[in-house]
């Protein structure tokens, strides 16, 4: 019970494309460090933030570090709730097939591989925000 009392709902809101600004990368650094604190963590990808999860990112030509593989490792850090806004994808001509497959192994279900990405309507996203204790925006 005392552990539960210190467990807060953290939402990381990502609204920018990667590489044009550093927010996507430094947001990921917070998420990884934060994982050690065993809070209830969710990530929201809204607006251009959906581009952070697009498959096939290749940064060789811009000379920057490609950190996109880190999203696929989030499951190992117990970060398993990635909410991607359906309307944001559609407006940009993207579908869920354009995104990296991101999964986790469910230890309560014989380590079955399950998807971490949840396609979320805008109205559900509003409800998700309304449930949080702490919202970190990037």
């Amino acid at each position: 019970m005392s552990e539960q009392a210190n467990r807060k709902k953290f939402l990381y809101v990502n609204r920018r494309a990667p590489y044009g600004t550093i927010y996507a990368l430094e947001s990921l650094e917070v998420v990884l460090i934060g994982a050690a604190f065993e809070q209830d963590v969710s990530l929201a990808f809204i607006d251009d933030g959906v581009y952070q999860l697009v498959a096939g990112q290749d940064t060789a030509g811009v000379g920057m570090k490609n950190f996109s593989k880190t999203y696929r490792a989030l499951g190992d850090y117990e970060v398993r709730k990635l909410y991607v806004e359906r309307e944001s994808l559609a407006e940009r001509g993207l579908t869920v097939e354009d995104l990296m497959p991101i999964t986790y192994e469910d230890e309560d279900d014989d380590y079955a591989e399950k998807p971490s990405i949840h396609l979320t309507d805008r109205s559900e996203m509003a409800r998700l925000i309304a449930e949080q204790d702490v919202i970190l925006s990037f």
Partner: protein, 102 residues
């Protein structure tokens, strides 16, 4: 418990205010500050967006940021309340969480 949403960029420059308004819940508050205050000016094309149908939320604008940009209280569109930094603090207290739309 409702949410305080903060928006600090001009809606004429960025989509963040519009994105914010697309994600409010009934009873939430939205505070426009820094360059976002230009969106509150009467007669501006953004007033229609602010007044569009959605879950009803309270609209606030930060007075010191209005004054810096030469916008007088009489220039503010109806239905938007002016607060100072103390009022910003009170809004953060009165809501359960603060969501910044950066």
């Amino acid at each position: 418990m409702p949410t305080l949403h903060t928006v600090n960029k001009s809606p004429y420059e960025r989509s963040s205010l519009e994105s914010c308004l697309d994600h409010v819940a009934e009873g939430d508050s939205v505070l426009m500050f820094e360059d976002a205050v230009v969106g509150a000016r009467r007669g501006g094309k953004f007033i229609a967006t602010l007044k569009a149908e959605r879950p009803s939320c309270a609209l606030y604008v930060l007075g010191p940021d209005l004054a810096a940009r030469g916008i007088k209280p009489a220039d503010i569109a109806e239905g938007i309340s002016v607060v100072d930094y103390g009022g910003f603090v009170d809004l953060a207290v009165a809501n359960a969480r603060v969501c910044a739309w950066l």
